[in-house]
Symmetry: C4
Subunit: 214 residues, 4 copies
């Protein structure tokens, strides 16, 4: 580690802007999975058909947008506390970004093969890895001996942020468990709706940690 | 909401730079819809033919560039007034960006199926959603009780900006109405020209709000 | 125009960062034209063949990289002088960026149809438009009455920068003129080498304007 | 060179942010090589097969991610020392970025033709050029007479950074040498594992330069 590691705010800003650029590109590349099939379309009815048939793609597109959005907001909040960095934080952040970059791919697989549970498991694994590295980063910057952050002295606040990281994979995980029983009818619908669990989970968490969540 | 939400200018800047990156990527991805067909071209005449046949694509490309440009300028102006943020503003901005991200897709559909009104309606819906979230964001930051902005005390100025948000969908909306009557000949031409209405509308608005528009 | 137009450095910075993001994306999208054909390759010899056959693509890729690089350096230099902005400068910059965004497309057409003069003319037109808007922007910010720039008081300096904008299209233009005579043999080679004229032209210009070019 | 070249920190920042945007886009475009083949998949077993068959692609994807990550960290460290710039540094940086931009292409070729040594050589050449321009830039900014950097007075520190630039191509180079003997069985495995040499090499370097590496 160089002695110049704390040249100051600019080097830290650069990490954040690089991350933001990666987030922005990954979230925008999601749109590339919305593709109009090479079918010869000649009437409005046919085009409506084609657009409607793209609905599962659109669903996974919106879902991935919200997931990336949630982790961007978390990343934004995390670096609000960071005041210094070291090589390990740099690489923890890069590995977290790796799974952000994977999202357009697993989202596309999920969109194309919405009916196959393997595609759903791949997608949920990606979100699990996002949560895992988000969690690791929160834990790492909160370590007092490293002096990387300011304002995270309260262990309940750190716990709150660490638990928040897991709301997305837990919600999707419930969907995975349901899908193990059946992949059609009501269970399939419940699996599809499982991401919505994020919102009550976040609400409950905020209630439970009212003292620190503000 | 964290107590550190106003760490200061940097966290706010980050929202703006993330948005700018999304704008920049979406506006640049538009070019991907300009594709040379996989036709075997051997002479200059054939290539000229191919380039000319890409004209409707080029038209929707330029149109979408101008539309994204208009909303970027509006976003640029909006964050000129913003001095603080909260979770709701973060997500309002993310939903606005969602429809920016959709533009390359709806623009491509419009470019490919320029003759079909369904494609035009999809395109106009996208612009309508852009206007809607732009409008919502102006309204939200202008709320005095939230202390999110500075310099928007004059309600006529806020009204001016809110109305500006609607010039694009109103212009395209006129095209939609014309297209309901007929989709060929003069009505088709007028539909195609309807976006040009943006300029007189903006001019009229500036005249009407001369006292605040400066 | 809003009264808050000079909130200060940040709003100006945002224009520059948005432009940089567009430059960065356009220059990186160039790589997408390097495509390995869907030929079934089973031996090293066949792969070498395929890589070698991509050479014209690689040539136009490098050429476009240098052209975008030249205009990025010019843009970087231009905003070195800019101290304020107005709506017109915003849109001048957006139109300039429009032709930056077009580069991956015209570069790809030039790469695929390297042997056809139509493709070359399309490519040179794009560069001409870049030069034109670069020139217009230099001229606009140098207008004393607008107070948009600082340090451009010397009219010879402004002239120097305006002439620099034209070195690229003039070099390619020489290629166009040669290509009018013949499209094979030595003339074709000279057309291909014409971009290299940029370097002596820039050198001559710097010699001629030694007093201001420093 | 303009007299205004040291307008200050902002112009320097802009070079860094432009570079970061290029890094971010190139690293994110890597994901585009992960493509689901257009095979008709109807069961989970078939989809698992398809996902598993994408493994060599995934391997080159991760590898390229780490390589770009290493050079981003090095670039981040380099500009920590830079306090001024000139045209030559601008273009050295642009040429370095050129080979960053090439990575998604050579990575894709390597992923598709993992079994062919030509693809591996192309990939290693790209990494070699990255190292070469990274090395040149370290050497250039360290030149005392140019006053471009601060904190690089110790020649051992400069040597340390210059040697670090070569760890990646040396590791891959070992793989190239092994591949010259045989392209199957154990040698093929060792070639595939050669990139892992980066880590012991970096460790040894840090040991050897403990006095400056901190």
């Amino acid at each position: 580690m160089s002695k110049h590691i704390d040249k100051g705010a600019f080097q830290l800003e650069r990490i954040v802007f690089f991350s933001d650029a990666v987030f922005a590109i990954a979230i925008t590349l999601l749109v590339l999975e919305l593709k109009i099939p090479d079918v010869h379309v000649r009437s409005n009815e046919e085009l409506n058909q084609v657009i409607l048939s793209a609905f599962p793609h659109f669903f996974s597109f919106v879902l991935s947008f919200v997931v990336i959005g949630i982790y961007w907001v978390s990343h934004h909040r995390l670096f609000n506390y960071v005041i210094a960095y070291n090589q390990r934080l740099l690489w923890l952040n890069l590995f977290f970004l790796f799974f952000i970059i994977c999202m357009p791919f697993s989202s596309e697989v999920y969109g194309i093969y919405a009916g196959l549970s393997s595609a759903f498991y791949l997608y949920v694994s990606n979100i699990f890895m996002l949560a895992f590295f988000n969690f690791l980063t929160w834990r790492y910057i909160a370590k007092k001996s490293l002096h990387l952050s300011q304002g995270l002295e309260n262990p309940r606040l750190v716990l709150y942020y660490q638990l928040r990281a897991w709301t997305a994979p837990i919600s999707f995980g419930v969907g995975v468990i349901i899908s193990l029983f059946s992949n059609t009818g009501l269970p399939a619908l419940l699996t599809g709706l499982s991401p919505l669990l994020i919102f009550p989970l976040m609400f409950l968490l905020r209630q439970r940690f009212k003292d620190v969540a503000g």
